[in-house]
Subunit: 202 residues, 2 copies
Amino acid sequence: MAMGRPREFDVDKALDLALQVFWSKGYEGASIADLTETMGITKPSLYAAFGNKEELFRKALDKYVDGPGGYFQVALAKPNIRAVVEHMLYESADAVTGPDHPPGCLAVQGALTCGDAAESIKQELVARRAKGEQDLRERFERAIAEGELPEGSDAADLAAYLSAILQGMAVQAAGGTTREQVRKIAEMALRTWPPPPDLATV
Amino acid sequence: MAMGRPREFDVDKALDLALQVFWSKGYEGASIADLTETMGITKPSLYAAFGNKEELFRKALDKYVDGPGGYFQVALAKPNIRAVVEHMLYESADAVTGPDHPPGCLAVQGALTCGDAAESIKQELVARRAKGEQDLRERFERAIAEGELPEGSDAADLAAYLSAILQGMAVQAAGGTTREQVRKIAEMALRTWPPPPDLATV
DNA sequence: CCAATTTCCTACCGATCGTTAGATAAGTGA
DNA sequence: TCACTTATCTAACGATCGGTAGGAAATTGG
């Protein structure tokens, strides 16, 4: 069987470079010309290897989630809830201000708003963030069942609250806030953790 | 002196409609065609009245800041720091989930990331957010001077922390989170307020 | 009524958008 | 060597991007 001409670039490396571009410019802000230039390949090579811009973004997002964004699942797997939240906050602070990649979080800034053409990408990111919050909620439910959190604690509320803090740190980082300052946000959130349940609703 | 043909549309109303478009699609995602269609005017009318896309955005942003975003300054003016933070959190929760306008916050989602052409708009938004945080910091400094916050409290850290929570709520809202859920985030943040100073650094 | 001024609209500008033909080059298997 | 397959490149596609000429229409002051 004929194998054809071998590819002259490393698909995985090229995808990683595409990730950097999407990460710093967002889905809409990253043009195909931006991407091919950074990836060091021509447009037809990009399309042959990755389909189209949308598919390329989705592949880059997958790579992000279990690469730079992998700390999230690592944190979820910690044995006690305090460790989960600590890890989540500290690692997130470092992740959104990492010196070797763009600041912020791809899942937040990839397409927080967009034109009609990118609507499905925006929805994908909404769904990913919701999934992360849902995972967090389930982890909190377990912690509540195991008596690790104050009686009356609401897992869904805790998950929404922590998600908001993480996303807020990502926005700060995207705006150029330093690692040290973002770490302080994480520390302050942790200093008040866990938020007591609303006694009025118990 | 000849006065010329009178304008057939209300500039202020048109600007408000442009604001809605930028708010929901972001600076890059909002095309001139989107804008003119929503504003009910033609392209030459838009350019004659507002200069260009960038100027239009800046004018819409000004309108946003002292319209839908006006709660921020209102909160800052509250007489005690508890009222400032309460108002800031609750009004923000309602503002980013208002039923009569797009969800989220223009200063966050207008251009969190973008291509090269929109870089100056992104920087403008970064500066606006930084200004808000700075205002907050000054308000906390005053509160500390007046003995309203625990000894050792750091005004800059408190401002960064609260800013992050507000921005996190905006991200949540942009993703479709309901008003009730965002309000719960505000309530939880308030329940733990104020975060105690880090005793290790005192 | 006429000149001056300003807004209106249609039609278009060059540049860039994402995407793809079509030809050529480089490899494999027979 | 020759067919086959796949990657490479240049060059282009139609659509849309932000922005603008140029002329008709509507107002004012004379």
